[in-house]
Subunit: 303 residues, 2 copies
């Protein structure tokens, strides 16, 4: 029994997380699973510029699951919920014949929700943080830690994968700010998520590969495991940063304002152009193939 | 992006339905699974006297699932949603390494939500329809149809299990009616669900076994398969009827009003008494043991 604030739109988002599709028990602790299940929903509310309010948490796990594991799962949910003022108002529990399954539905509010369908030709495109960290962390978790890289750098990357920090404060600030025309969160990967913006807005997006922020740790892990850091940054997914389109004249004020209020760096990476689809352009101005979005253990399931 | 009506409370409920815990693909068609996943949530909103408004539908199924099966699932959801004016406003889809999983979250509204915690000593207890039909239908589905019983009677029982009709109109009418003090929907079985009312309200409940409505078809299936129809009616679960407590002086008007507006028969089955727990009393006034609630294929999983 909830009382929404008058004059606000109600926002609702839901996500299923399934063992061996979205996470593996081998390295995801129950508290990580709880945290991340809420984080992915918080990120979605953040992308609309909303304030998260109420969550419903459904959990199914096998009969051999211990009470301590279930408690740890809810502690993971509660830790992140408390950080963002979210009340757990309902849920469901069930036994599962096979593996863990989590579904969280998150309700939020916004006076003026931001959409992915309102980007305009001539806007610039920006992201709230470095990309590819989650994919780098996943590579470390799946294939082992390259010994040439310091433990704290690796922990930063695996933490980005296991316990992402959704950009809730940033989304709310950007949602209220003048000049932002469209927003989305990066769950499937830059290529896929910007394609959603392009399609919904009836525009094209041009991204300069050289401007995409990628951390040194991500680059070093990619080199160590023989992967492509830019492929992770454009197609790895699960970074849960925000991408936005804004008027070029507003970009400086947005970057300064966001840094001042949240400490988060807004990086311009491209432009909204006439046409359709997403094009990645290298430092020499040559167009490269777009890279596929995150497909949830695709390689393993195909093998 | 939803606009709740001013002056209303927002209601939210969520349910996970998992293959081989809540349904079996052997006899539950995809459209049945879709229908029932929404029905169980509608029943919960009905029990609060609310109007269902918006649903979020999450579905995970194995990679070998056909497009036609997935479409049929959503057709099952949409058929029941349309009947109750519910808009599907969001969702999620995922592959599943093992079996079907559905989670539906339903949002509704009520000006004055009904609770399970407000029954008063001296109230009478009533239910909106016959009990045990779903358990009888499940017995037929699990163990085969007794040949001595007509096909249309069996179809009524299996239909009650596979495609329950939640009492949405009845819940809304009862929620607005004078004299209703508490309400709950019968998902886990009369014994378990009335125990929730008793505990939440700080009272006891006394039920006359002889007054519990049980259909002739349910009795005949019970006899044919060597089961106890009253055990199904008190502990079988999944009937999705409403149980309510009301002032004794209001009972006649509620029964007549509900029959007039919805065609549904309200049957008085007991009283709210001082004390705690739920007691079942036979025709001779002797107290019998309470019967366990529905435990989702408990026998099979224990075997």
């Amino acid at each position: 029994m909830l009382e929404p604030d008058p004059g606000h739109f109600l926002l609702a988002t839901t996500d299923l997380l399934i063992e061996d599709v979205h996470f593996r028990r081998r390295y995801a602790e129950p508290a990580d699973i709880g945290w991340k299940s809420l984080a992915v929903n918080l990120s979605d509310i953040a992308s609309m510029g909303g304030s998260p309010r109420w969550a419903l948490v459904a959990l199914a796990c096998p009969s051999e699951t211990t009470a301590a594991e279930i408690e740890a799962f809810y502690e993971g949910v509660h830790a992140l919920a408390a950080e963002h003022g979210v009340a757990i108002v309902g849920g469901d529990t069930s036994s599962s014949p096979r593996g863990w399954t989590v579904n969280i539905t998150l309700l939020g509010e916004a006076r003026r929700p931001r959409l992915r369908s309102t980007a305009r030709v001539g806007d610039v495109v920006a992201v709230t943080g470095p990309l590819g960290r989650s994919a780098a962390g996943l590579a470390v978790l799946e294939h082992g830690a390259p010994t040439v890289i310091a433990a704290d750098l690796l922990a930063d990357l695996t933490g980005a994968h296991l316990r992402p920090s959704p950009r809730v404060r940033e989304g709310r600030w950007l949602g209220d700010a003048e000049g932002v025309t469209a927003m989305i969160d990066l769950s499937d990967g830059l290529a896929t998520d910007l394609a959603h913006v392009a399609e919904a807005s009836g525009v094209g997006v041009r991204v300069d590969l050289a401007r995409i922020p990628v951390t040194e740790a991500t680059r070093r892990v990619a080199t160590a495991v023989g992967a492509d850091a830019l492929a992770w940054a454009t197609g790895g997914g699960e970074d849960y940063e925000l991408a936005l389109a804004c008027a070029p004249t507003a970009a400086d004020a947005l970057r300064e304002g966001l840094a001042r209020t949240s400490g988060t760096t807004l990086t311009l990476i491209g432009e909204v152009v006439a046409g359709d689809g997403v094009r990645f352009v290298d430092a020499g101005g040559r167009e490269t193939a777009t890279r596929p979005g995150w497909q949830h253990f695709r390689t393993e399931r195909r093998a």
